[in-house]
């Protein structure tokens, strides 16, 4: 069982977490006016980097959504940070 760090609850079992997607994927600027290619990329395409990656996860029991940096080959976790706190700064 792998343990992941929830910024709010601390270290918890992997089964409590949900992978939401890669981090740093901003919505296309301009909303409906943005190009189809920009929306297609945003909605469906991923970087699929191998090694150290930054991702968005959520912790189901507390609802915290956070950014986690980890290695997707070794499964080592480097850091996790609440998105809520980032916004408050």
């Amino acid at each position: 069982m792998q343990l992941f760090p929830c910024p709010y609850c601390g270290t918890r079992d992997e089964t409590e977490f949900r992978f939401l997607g890669e981090a740093d994927t901003p919505r296309p600027a301009g909303g409906a006016a943005a190009a189809i290619a920009a929306w297609t990329r945003y909605l469906y395409f991923h970087r699929n980097r191998k090694g150290r990656v930054a991702e968005i996860w959520s912790h189901a029991p507390c609802g915290e959504t956070f950014r986690m940096e980890r290695n997707n080959v070794t499964h080592v976790v480097y850091a996790s940070a609440s998105l809520r706190k980032e916004r408050a700064q």
Binding site: M1, Q2, D13, E14, T15, R18, F19, I36, A37, T40, R41, L43, Y44, F45, H46, R47, N48, R49, K50, G51, V53, E55, N72, V73, T74, H75
Partner: protein
């Protein structure tokens, strides 16, 4: 030219102490240039090379494999072949694969041990039976064999299942797909490799592709540890590493890479002569010729390039097996392993030209690549030979995401992959 395999050659070699067998394929090192280079020596890449040489007469072909043949997902799957899909586009694709599988041992002169023992998808409620009826109807309309089974018919094909009405996942019936079954996965890779080699294809192992050769925006070859190899056309059939390689030339793929686990029990005497998939847990199982139960289930929901599974999903799959077959509870688990699969949002593959001219894709098979090997190879060969789609691969082009023309088999056939 390798010796033709037959009952006679086996008998003769048996009498001669098996001293006359030659290696099934050569071990060439790469030439400086080919008509076509295929990245990935799994089933799809090897099949593409074979069909290029056989059907299109293009024999200056190299398959580049960074490890050993079939050492990725081709050798890690649970060997199931089937064609029980919902949408006409998918049926055209997977039924082409199954039809090619049906003639493959003879075509390749290599026994892939195809066993069309039938597959039963087991439903556990009235609602699931309605979904099964929908799937069976869609399959029949598309010309694929399918039969809606009640509980007594399920009992006939899989008597070891748990038929207790109080079971957590009671048996209400299911969809029977008689042409589905299993094939020897290594045999498929080896058979294609041997047949392609015999037609002049260079099957090159331990040769990792590090980058692409791009001239004027067009892919003109690949860069490997053994130097640059020029090619008129390049096929990318590297499963989860297709996206990693695509990043080298600046495009992304709509895939996510997950771990998919499989495992086998110790061998016992024959008790299950079909493939059983339970819709409630997603666990599926068949019994190998050696007597082991080969089984697996859903994906590990953590994106990963590690070729091993995590314990929670492992436990869920085993629990699902024991719900369906309580009698298997005394068996020991012998081995557990995992492959990394590239999953597309609509659970359908990516076949077609890439954004870089000269480079063609065959990836995104997710958890269902093995059953599709002959069709994936056949269609990639067509793309590499003609430079354009065959009508069967057209719907699976990358452009379907911009057009919103997804082929959502996860929703359509209810098969999670």
């Amino acid at each position: 030219m390798p010796k033709r395999y037959s009952a006679l050659s086996l008998a003769v070699e048996g009498l001669r102490g098996h001293t006359g067998w030659a290696p099934a394929w050569r071990r060439p090192r790469p030439q400086p240039a080919y008509d076509a280079v295929i990245i990935g020596g799994g089933g799809h890449g090897l099949a593409a090379a074979y069909y290029l040489a056989k059907l299109h007469g293009i024999r200056r072909v190299a398959v580049l494999e960074r490890g050993w043949l079939g050492g990725g997902n081709t050798g890690r799957n649970t060997t199931v072949v089937r064609s029980n899909y919902f949408y006409p586009e998918s049926v055209a694709l997977y039924d082409l694969a199954l039809r090619l599988y049906e003639g493959l041992s003879r075509d390749l002169n290599y026994n892939i041990m195809l066993s069309q023992r039938g597959i039963i998808n087991v439903a556990h409620s009235d609602a699931e039976m309605e979904i099964c009826a929908r799937l069976a109807n869609a399959m029949q309309i598309n010309g694929v064999d399918a039969e809606l089974f009640g509980p007594e018919q399920v009992r006939r094909v899989a008597p070891a299942l748990n038929f207790d009405p109080q079971a957590r996942y009671p048996v209400f019936g299911g969809v029977w797909h008689a042409r589905g079954g299993t094939a020897r996965h290594d045999g498929v890779a080896w058979g294609y490799a041997r047949a392609a080699d015999a037609l002049g294809v260079d099957v090159i192992q331990n040769c990792a592709v590090e980058d692409f050769l791009i001239e004027g925006g067009v892919c003109k070859g690949v860069v490997t540890a053994e130097g640059t190899i020029r090619a008129e056309r390049v096929g990318l059939a590297a499963a989860s590493h297709s996206a990693t390689l695509a990043a080298k030339v600046g495009f992304e793929l709509p895939t996510r890479v997950y771990t998919l686990q499989a495992m086998v029990s110790e061998p016992v005497k024959p008790v299950l002569d079909t493939v059983v998939l339970t819709l409630g847990t997603g666990t599926y199982v068949s019994q190998s010729d050696k007597g082991e139960f080969v089984f697996g289930g859903g994906l590990d929901r953590i994106t990963s390039f590690a070729q091993r599974g995590n314990p929670p999903v492992h436990e869920f799959i085993v629990a699902g097996l024991l719900d369906a077959f309580p009698g298997f509870g005394q068996l020991k688990l012998m081995r557990q392993w995992a492959g990394i699969v590239d999953v597309v949002p609509d659970s359908s593959p990516l076949i077609g030209p890439s954004p870089v001219p000269g480079l063609f894709l065959n990836c995104g098979w997710g958890t269902g690549g093995f059953k599709a090997i002959p069709a994936g190879g056949w269609l990639l060969a067509h793309l590499l030979a003609k430079g354009e789609h065959h009508p069967i691969s057209r719907p699976f082009d990358l452009d379907r995401f911009a057009r919103g023309a997804l082929i959502d088999e996860a929703a359509g056939s209810g098969i999670a992959h």
